[in-house]
C-alpha cells in the first residue's frame, strides 16, 4: 500500500442550516411552500420583540438581510418577509442524522457546531475513491436521504478545509490545497479569514492589510509587535499553517458558564432585576453543578435600553457551587454598578473553575454549607426527573418571571467555538 503522509480533511457545512432544516421538515409534513424559495428567516418571535435573524434564505439575502440583525430591522428591509420561530430539537436531530451519515465514510468526525463538521478522510481512498469524488458522494448522499444541501471543503488541514467550504454556495465541493492558496485564498478580503473579526479588521486596515494575501506576505515580527500572539495565529492561518487534529469528541475544557436573557419589557426597578438575575443564577448554578465544578469568579452584564452594555465581576473568597452563594454575590455586584436606568438584557456568568470534589473551605463560610449543598443537589435531582418547573422559589409566584431562564432548553445543543 502506498504510504500516505499527507492528511486529507473535509469540512462539511450545511447551507443556511436552520432555514433548510426547517424547510425540509415542513415539506415532509406536507407543506407545499418551500421556505428556501421565498424571502424567509428563522429567528425569535416577532410578538415578544426579542429575536434576531438566525438564518436566512437566499431570496432573503437579496434584500440585504443579515444574520444577527433584529427582526425589526429585517422587516423594514422586506415587509413581506416570512418569519419562523426556531425549534432547536429539530436542529439537533438534523445535525445528529448528518453526523450518522458522515460516520459511514470515516471513523473520525468532529462536530464543530450544529451545522459544521470536520471529517478526517486520510487513508480512506481505497474505500471511497479520490477525495473530490468522495466528497461529491457524501454531499449527494446527505441531500438524497436528509433533503438538505451542504458545501464540502477539501484540504490538508482543518483551517483550509473550512475556508474552502465557504467559497461558493450552495451544494458545492471545493478544494483549497496549499499550492492553491495564492490563487484561491489570497485575493479574498482579509475579513473572510477565520478568526479575523470586527475588532481586528480596522487594525489590519490601518496596517494597509486588505486581503488575505497582504496579511500572508507581511512581516510576522511586525505583526506580533502590533497584534501579539493573535496576530501570529492569523498570519499563520493566512499562510495556510494549522495542524490541529480532527477530534472525535468536541470536548474542550470549559472555562466559564453563563446565561443571559433579553427581557420582554424594560426593567426599571431593583426588585424585578433581582428576580431575573435569580432565575438566571438558577440555570447557571445547575449547569455548574452538572459539570462537576465550583466557581471562584462571578460576573454580571447589563444591557440598557440604549443598547449600551457594561459588566462587573468579583472574585469569591472561597470556591462554591451553591445557588444561594452565587446569587448573593450577583446581587451585590449588580447593586454596585447599576445606574438605575432601564434594562433590556441581563446576564450572569461564572468562571475560574475548580473541581467540586475537594475544595478549600473558608473560615467565613456559612456554617450549614453541607446542608445547602444537599439541598441544591436534591432540587437538581427533582428538576431533572420531573421537569424544571417542578420546584420553584416562592418569590416567582405571580411575578410573570420564569423561575429559570437562559439557554435554549437543549443541553446537548453543540455550541459555536472559535477553537478549531
Amino acid at each position: 500500500m502506498k504510504k500516505n503522509t499527507k492528511r486529507i480533511i473535509f469540512h462539511i457545512d450545511v447551507n443556511s442550516a436552520f432555514l433548510s432544516w426547517e424547510a425540509v421538515y415542513r415539506l415532509q409534513q406536507g407543506e407545499t411552500l418551500d421556505l428556501r424559495t421565498i424571502p424567509s428567516v428563522v429567528g425569535g418571535d416577532p410578538k415578544s420583540r426579542r429575536g434576531i435573524v438566525l438564518a436566512k434564505s437566499i431570496p432573503a439575502k437579496h434584500y440585504k438581510i443579515q444574520t444577527g440583525e433584529t427582526l425589526y430591522a429585517a422587516l423594514e428591509k422586506c415587509p413581506h418577509l416570512k418569519i419562523v420561530s426556531p425549534s432547536y430539537g429539530l436542529y439537533v436531530r438534523c445535525s445528529n442524522a448528518m453526523v450518522e451519515i458522515l460516520k459511514e465514510y470515516s471513523p473520525i468526525v468532529q462536530r464543530f457546531s450544529a451545522d459544521e463538521c470536520f471529517l478526517d478522510y486520510t487513508g480512506m481512498e481505497p474505500h471511497f475513491g479520490e477525495p473530490e469524488a468522495a466528497a461529491r458522494r457524501i454531499k449527494n448522499h446527505i441531500y438524497r436521504e436528509l433533503g438538505f444541501t451542504v458545501n464540502i471543503g477539501i484540504s490538508t488541514n482543518k483551517l483550509l478545509a473550512k475556508m474552502a467550504s465557504d467559497f461558493k454556495k450552495p451544494d458545492q465541493v471545493h478544494t483549497l490545497f496549499p499550492w492553491e492558496i495564492p490563487k484561491k485564498m489570497w485575493p479574498l478580503p482579509v475579513e473572510e479569514l477565520f478568526m479575523v473579526g470586527r475588532a481586528t479588521v480596522p487594525k489590519l486596515h490601518k496596517m494597509r492589510i486588505f486581503t488575505i494575501g497582504d496579511l500572508a506576505n507581511y512581516d510576522p515580527v511586525h505583526i506580533r509587535h502590533r497584534l501579539k500572539s493573535h496576530g501570529i495565529m492569523i498570519w499563520q492561518y493566512a499562510n495556510g499553517i494549522e495542524d490541529s487534529a480532527v477530534r472525535g469528541g468536541n470536548a474542550i475544557e470549559m472555562k466559564g458558564i453563563g446565561n443571559s436573557t433579553t427581557i420582554a419589557f424594560d426593567v426599571e426597578d431593583r426588585k424585578t432585576a433581582h428576580k431575573i438575575l435569580l432565575s438566571l443564577t438558577e440555570t447557571v448554578a445547575m449547569r455548574l453543578r452538572d459539570a462537576g465544578y465550583c466557581c471562584r469568579l462571578v460576573a454580571i452584564s447589563i444591557k440598557n435600553s440604549d443598547f449600551y452594555t457594561y459588566s462587573h465581576q468579583r472574585k469569591l473568597l472561597a470556591a462554591t457551587d451553591a445557588t444561594g452563594r452565587i446569587y448573593q454575590t450577583v446581587r451585590e455586584i449588580f447593586d454596585e454598578v447599576w445606574q438605575g436606568e432601564k434594562i433590556r438584557h441581563l446576564g450572569v456568568r461564572v468562571s475560574d473553575f475548580c473541581s467540586n470534589e475537594f475544595f478549600q473551605h473558608s473560615l467565613f463560610d456559612e456554617a450549614d454549607l453541607e446542608k445547602t449543598r444537599a439541598l441544591d443537589q436534591t432540587i437538581d435531582r427533582i428538576r431533572l426527573k420531573y421537569g424544571t418547573k417542578s420546584v420553584m422559589r416562592a418569590s416567582f409566584l405571580y411575578s410573570d418571571i420564569k423561575p429559570l431562564s437562559g439557554g435554549v432548553g437543549q443541553d446537548d445543543f453543540p455550541p459555536m467555538s472559535s477553537i478549531l
Binding site: 415532509q28 406536507g30 407545499t32 448528518m98
Partner: protein, 87 residues
C-alpha cells in the same frame, strides 16, 4: 396524487420482524362522519429520513366508491402518528 396531509386512525399489523403493514384506516369528513377505507394493496414502502425525522411512507391502492385510487400513507416513528399524505 395531491398533498392532503390529513390525520387518520389506522389498524396495522406490526410483524415480529419489524415490518409494518397497514390494514385499514378511517378518516373524518368535513361533516364529522367517518369513512373507513380498507387497504387493498401496499405497492411500495420506503423509510424517509428527511431532516433526520424518520417516517415510513406507504404507497397503497384501494377501491374507494367504485374507483381504484392510489394514495400515500405516512407513519411518523417519533410520534406514532399516521396521516393520509397524498391522494
Amino acid at each position: 396524487m395531491k398533498v392532503v396531509r390529513k390525520p387518520i386512525d389506522v389498524s396495522a399489523i406490526f410483524y415480529q420482524e419489524g415490518v409494518i403493514v397497514p390494514i385499514k384506516f378511517r378518516i373524518q369528513k368535513s361533516d364529522e362522519s367517518w369513512v373507513v377505507v380498507k387497504v387493498d394493496r401496499v405497492i411500495a414502502k420506503e423509510l424517509e429520513k428527511l431532516a433526520g425525522n424518520k417516517m415510513w411512507v406507504f404507497t397503497c391502492e384501494s377501491t374507494i366508491g367504485d374507483m381504484q385510487r392510489l394514495y400515500q400513507l405516512k407513519y411518523e416513528l417519533d410520534t406514532c402518528q399516521w396521516m393520509l399524505f397524498k391522494i
